[in-house]
Structure formats: C-alpha cells, structure tokens
Symmetry: C2
C-alpha cells in the first residue's frame, strides 16, 4: 500500500468483526511498530497482545465503566449538545465509541503498549501509530483509546500482570479487527487553518482546497 493511502485513510475503526486477526499479521504489526525512533533510541516499551476471550470480556466491562465515567466528566453534555446543534461528526464519534462499549466482547484483539521514562509520550505514540498504519495496510482496523489507561490503569495492570511498580505506564489500548465499516477520508479542518508561518497567527503562503490524496489516486 502507498504511504499516502495509509496516512489518509487510517481512521479510528471501532466497529470490527469477531474474526480473529492472524498471527502473521500481528507479527508484522509488531515488527513495524518497533522500527520507529524513540528518544535516545531507548526503545523503552513493552507490548501485550490480548486475544483470550475471557480476558477481552473483562476488559470490555472495564471499558464500559471507563466510557461511562468519561461521559459523566470530561464529555459531560457533549453528546446531547452535538445532537442538538447538528454536529454530525461528533455524534458519529460518540455513537461509534458507544458501539465499542456495547460490543467490546467481540473484538478479536487488543494491544496494550506500555512505556516508561517517556513523560511526553513522544517515543511511544509514533510506535503505536506505526502499528496502526501497518494494520491498515493489511486490512485490519484499529482504534486507539486512552480511557482504560486513564480510568482503569490499576485494574488493567492487575489483569495483565503488569509490574507497574517498575515504572511501566499504559499508553493506550488499541482494538484491532477486520472492519465492519468502510475505509475512507475522515473530515478534518484544512491544514492551512491550523498551520502558522514563522510566528503564531501568521497564515502560510499556501492553502489546501481539497485533500492532496484522494481514494481516486489509488
């Protein structure tokens, strides 16, 4: 797959089938992930791949709890506000996250990256994103969520046997599976509206009327 197709179409793909992700694909995802650069080439990461049904059911319960907590706190009123203001994009994200909360038990694979001595996240998230791009290129949809690490860090660590006392911090849970939905370009604010030239607030010399890569370019 061309790099641009991967970069432009790897969107959060929460709705996946229960078909297992083959070991060869997991292996290729992991091999791609660990190629990314890390601060001082420290590679201070460990990854736990979970496919066991019972474990995933338990993780699903934790995710549902965490998602409910998020809705009662940071996202409070967000879904309703989006619905009443006609903000379809946000409604779609909220519905999709709710689908995951309701159907987590059928997700065939969840990858848990852990890191330490990486306070900004600048080392682990490029590797996580490489894993997701590699998955995309092999037809696997992924979704990165931090709600388990935020609200259920200890519970997940206990479940997976993570020695958190040694400084390991959960960076994410990445759900993986064959997509039920379609790949495609997600809507984004155009780059020239979020990019400044030389100093904050100065627009760049260029504008982008439509995405520079489109599915027709395939």
């Amino acid at each position: 797959m061309d790099i641009n197709e991967a970069l432009y179409t790897t969107r959060a793909m929460r709705r996946v089938s229960s078909d297992p992700v083959p070991d060869d694909i997991v292996k290729a995802m992991m091999d791609a992930a660990i190629r990314s650069p890390s601060g001082g080439n420290s590679q201070n990461w460990r990854w736990v791949t979970v496919a066991d049904r019972n474990t995933i059911v338990t993780i699903g319960d934790l995710y549902s709890d965490a998602w409910a907590q998020l809705n009662e706190t940071f996202y409070k009123g967000k879904a309703e506000q989006a619905r009443s203001s006609g903000d379809k994009a946000t409604v779609r994200v909220m519905n999709s996250a709710q689908w995951l909360a309701d159907n987590f038990a059928q997700v065939p694979l969840v990858v848990f990256p852990y890191h330490r001595n990486d306070p900004s996240g600048a080392s682990i998230y490029p590797a996580v994103w490489s894993l997701m791009l590699s998955a995309r290129s092999q037809g696997i949809g992924t979704c990165l969520t931090t709600v388990l690490g935020t609200f259920k860090h200890q519970e997940v660590a206990d479940l997976l046997g993570v020695p958190v006392e040694k400084g390991w911090i959960n960076a994410a849970a990445v759900t993986c599976g064959y997509p039920l939905g379609k790949w495609g370009l997600a809507k984004r604010a155009p780059a020239h509206l979020v990019t400044y030239s030389e100093t904050w607030g100065e627009p760049p010399t260029w504008t982008i009327d439509e995405p520079l890569w489109k599915p027709d370019d395939r």
Copy 2:
C-alpha cells in the same frame, strides 16, 4: 512509496543540508499530518513552520543550551559510559545530537507542533509521526526532539508568539531538511523480545529473526 519502506526507514535524520524545503513539500507534510485521528476528533493542534534564518539561529542557540542541560542531568555520564563500554549505537545517537547542536543554524526548516487538552500525547504524536513519514516519502529527513519543549518552553513560545496562557503546549521541534546521511534500517531489539502474549512476561508464539521488510524488497 510503499508504507513499509516509510515505516522501516524513517529514522532520526539530524544531519541535513541547508537547501530549503520547497513549499509544496511543506504543504503535503501538513496535509498528511492533520489526517490522523485525535481523541474525540478534537484536532486540538496548531503548527508553526519556521524557515526564517534569524529565528532558526536563535532556536539553535536555545537548542545548544537545552542539549547541554540534558547532558548535565538526564544523560549525565551517558556518552562516556557508552564510549567506554563500546555501545556504538548510543555513541552514534549522541554524536548525531551533538552535530545538531553544533549545526542547528543551517537547518532549513523546523516545525513546532502545539497541542492542548491532550495530556497523554496520544493525539498529537501520531500526527507528528505522520508529518515525518510524509516527509520521508518526499525525500526529507526529520528529527523529533522534545528538549526545547522541556528546557526552553517559554523562550520558544516568546520567540514564536505562542499564547501559552490559552493552554497551548509545545509537543516537539521537528527539524527538517534534505539528508546528508543515508536512509536505512536502524537497529532495534526484535519485536518478540518486547511483546508479550495475553499476560506480561509470556512470550508470543512467533519470533522474528530478521526485519520483515528490507531495502531489497523495494
């Protein structure tokens, strides 16, 4: 470029020539960056692209200071220890970072991503990595550094006019330019040594004797 070539060969490329990075490439890098998913699709990012010679000279001075501070604190003794123990990989990283400190003024482009309401970094760093992968696919070498954000956050904000009082946090400085060195596979601990299956400490069913993608596959 194939996705695997980008994922496997985008390494920290600090040594770059002073040749300017064309606007069309900057535009394509930015358009690729903003396609990545962010938490709740919040896209809570702004990017400042700096090519002005005077600004880059000043940033270079700040970088040299920050690099010296890092060597006096977190990295204290690291270079010497690596040299005496024959750890060539670490010596190379340290030499390369020193090169950047000594030659920052000739870097033709530095991109500063800013984010807010993204405490883990899970939203900004995938976008930053997409920028770097897109750059790689267009022949531009990049290096992500967090030392300016760590040691010179206010100085950089003052220089670029960033309204930090509104919550904007510097995620990185990404140096960009045409590489003086060669692209190639960086050495990494094999994936099966850092991946666990189902629970922490359990090896996966697979091993990886050599990288699954190699330059010959091109």
